[in-house]
Amino acid sequence: MTAAHTDRPAVTPEEPVAEPAGRRLVTRLAATPEIGVIATVIVLFIVFSAASESFAGVSNLQTMGFDLAQYGILALGVSFVILTGGIDLSLGSVVALTAVVSAWLNARAELPAPAAIAVTLLLAAAIGVLHGVFVTRLGVPPFVTTLITLVAARGAALAITKGFPIDGVSETFTDLNAYRVLLIPVPTAIFIVCCVAAWVFLERTYAGRQLYAVGGNREAARLAGIRTERRIMLAYVVSALCAGLVGVLITSRLSVGQPGVGQGWELTAIAAAVIGGISLSGGAGRVVGVAFGAILLVVINTGLVILHVSPYYQQIVLGLVLAVAVTTDRIRSRRLARARRATP
């Protein structure tokens, strides 16, 4: 009777039967959902390096490293929320608020840098918890919840500073930005660490897999005995913490607490995540994609400057590049799908 099954075609296991290793690798690659964004990054990188020798130079790469740390960490954080099927629009404002608060604590309240940073991160976490409560307990849509914070947090940053940057941040604080670990700026290093941590959590821990489950089918997850509310709460806290971390890094980079910083970064971060393959309907997407999504945006932005594109034209060019990248990627994956269906 089991025999009767095993010879049934429709349900043969995934892997196509023996195939030359070479071709297999290629097909495997073509099948990786993230391949599109990765390829784009590589292509653009080559193009830009060819166009200007300084592009691939250490100091320029380091500059890109700083930007990458900012957008990348935000993208990672928001990915957690998106995986649960939610969204976090508050990132940019939380960055501004935490940037200002950390500066204020350090410069005005004269807390030593580490203490100031710790307190700031606590504040960020608290914001995350608040989001979690609104979404899980009150059932307010994530979009609305975080939109309110988008307004309120920005407002708070403004109210604290009355619009003037907070100066007088201590050396130790700004050093966070000055140092390099084997040529890698500290913020970039932090970003890399975050990537690894996120990967381990999402791919290799039960909690991580459960996060996917919650995003994939919340009711089912509940019935399967998963503590969905905790997972969702966690996602929002992670997201807010990342924003707080970026806020701290910015203040250390600017050496002042600037309330105007981070305007619209939430969209950049979400864009990076989505371009990297995180599905906005939740439950699908991987860390690699997010990382490369962020890299892509940074590479394009720097490239435009390197190529002397007039600031009046940079945005439209950026838009066109993205359009081309996305379109080609879609066409690839559709080809793939068709090919799949063709082979029965």
Binding site: E14, R204, T205, A213, L223, A224, G225
Partner: protein, 490 residues
């Protein structure tokens, strides 16, 4: 279970003073659609919170409406709608609910355990496949394997075999027996009375939320069960099609091919009911989807009536007079959060509108009420969201939608999946009515008896092809099964 009571709004859907289930026994729970079966089992497994009453499992009392606690007490449910995670692998779906063994996932162990569970059901499904790429039947198997994996003390199977072909059903029933033999309680909900009588040692009948009969297997004759369920005598189920098919060709497909199916040649005459049998994954659904234009066909020609028929999309098909009742009502047919009215009128909206574009609410309401009643839908009001309806009632709504559209070719994929005997007979009547009115009907079903009762001819599919067609006089379970299992290889 004692003093259980459940009401939604003004209607009491369950009122069971006492029900005791003994270990080591398979108890069948039968009843019409909406009788309260899923509600009862839902309460038992903590998904539904009763208004009154308690559930004891062994020594301890179930915390009402707490599915996690129910699982801890060893109650595990195979629900009517399978709550699976499309984006996770089969293995993860099977084991995710388990209390984590430490912080990190041991994937190889996960694969091994998953494989073991699947083999118990003889399901050769890759453990790394993403569940959303699986078919409905396969998903049902996963769901059952998941429940078995919890080594439950109480296993509830809510229509486990409704989506399965004969072979798979057999495997599931065996697994259930083994579990019972090991001392667990197995509660089995089903509408196939023969199956019920084959497996159950005790049969409990619900009607309108009340316990109306509690019989041993011996007492439970088909007659008695049906009387208890419907509360009325049923003229024994339709023996054979009331009307003979005409000789006008209504639909023909020549060399029809599509991803994974064909070439398929078949001819349907007006007023004919053609059954499509086959094992799961044999291509029945895909054939229907292809005819409906939902899967782009890669070759061959089709004619509908005397005109050539080339649907680029289901919309074209519908316009040409073809309708499809899909097998997965939840994902392929219903707007769960919208009203019965919206769902019933979905396929005929343009015809309900006046001055070409505008809907007239009055006309729509009368139409919807009529169509729902015609399909025998049980609901408080046509404004009630369909999510609240029982599985069978939901199925009838989908059927009502298409039947009201009066297409020339009606495609039915598992049309009576999860539909009770009484309603089933009703749907059969509707189908025959359709045929009598000159519609051509193509019925894909995993219930051989159903096909043998209902159809003029049965076409058997295997590996995407039509391997053989039987006329009524040739009908025999054995022959059909052999054709299905040992279909002509590619």
């Amino acid at each position: 279970m004692t003093g259980l009571h459940k009401a939604y709004g003004t209607t009491t859907v369950l009122d069971v003073p006492e029900l005791v289930l003994h270990g080591g026994q398979i108890v069948a729970l039968v009843g019409e659609n909406g009788a309260g079966k899923s509600t009862l089992t839902g309460i038992l497994s903590g998904i539904v919170r009763p208004d009154r009453g308690t559930v004891e499992v062994g020594p301890s009392t179930l915390r009402p409406g707490d599915p996690v606690h129910a699982q801890q007490l060893g109650v595990s449910l195979v629900a009517q709608e399978f709550p699976l995670f499309g984006q996770l692998s089969v293995a993860e779906n099977l084991l995710l609910g388990r209390p984590p063994a430490g912080l990190f996932v041991d994937r190889s162990a996960q694969r091994r355990q998953a494989r073991a569970l699947l083999d118990r059901l003889g399901a050769a499904i890759g453990t790394d496949r993403m569940v959303e790429t699986l078919t409905v039947p396969q998903q049902q198997l996963i769901e059952i394997a998941k429940a078995l994996g919890r080594e439950p003390r109480v296993l509830v199977l809510d229509e486990p075999t409704s989506a399965l072909g004969p072979v798979e059903s057999a495997a599931v029933l065996t697994a259930a027996r083994e579990l019972a033999a090991a001392g667990a309680v197995v509660v089995f909900i089903g509408h196939r009375l023969d199956e019920v009588r084959e497996i159950a040692e005790r049969v409990v009948v619900l009607r309108n939320g009340r316990l109306v009969a509690d019989l041993t297997a011996a007492e439970a004759t088909e007659q008695r069960l049906v009387r208890a369920m419907v509360g009325a005598e049923l003229s024994d189920l339709v023996g054979e099609p009331a009307t003979a098919a005409t000789d006008r060709d209504a639909f023909t497909a020549a060399g029809l091919t599509a991803p994974g199916i064909g070439p398929v040649d078949l001819t349907l005459r007006a007023g004919e009911i053609l059954g499509v049998a086959g094992l799961m994954g044999s291509g029945r659904s895909r054939l229907l989807h292809t005819v409906m234009g939902a899967i782009p066909r890669t070759g061959g020609t089709m004619t509908l009536g005397d005109r050539s028929y080339d649907p680029g999309s289901p919309a074209d098909a519908a316009a040409a007079g073809v309708g499809l009742v899909p097998e997965d009502r939840k994902h392929q047919a219903l707007l769960l959060d919208d009203s019965v009215r919206w769902n019933v009128s979905l396929a005929v909206l343009p015809t309900l509108s006046h001055r070409r574009y505008f809907l007239s609410p009055g006309r729509e309401r009368t139409f919807a009420a009529g169509a729902a009643a015609a399909a025998g839908v049980k609901c408080e009001s046509i404004e009630q969201p369909v999510r609240g309806l029982s599985g069978g009632n939901q199925q009838k709504i989908v059927f009502g939608r298409w039947f009201a559209a009066r297409p020339r070719l009606l495609l039915l994929d598992e049309p009576t999946r999860g539909v009770d005997v009484g309603a089933k007979a009703g749907i059969y009547q509707l189908i025959e009515q359709a045929a009598a009115d000159g519609m051509a009907v193509l019925v894909a079903s995993s219930e051989l008896e159903e096909l043998m009762q209902l159809t003029h001819r049965i076409a058997v599919m295997s590996r995407g092809r039509l391997v053989r067609t039987f006329d009524r006089d040739q009908f025999s379970k054995e022959a059909v099964m052999t054709a299905a299992t040992t279909g002509a290889p590619r």
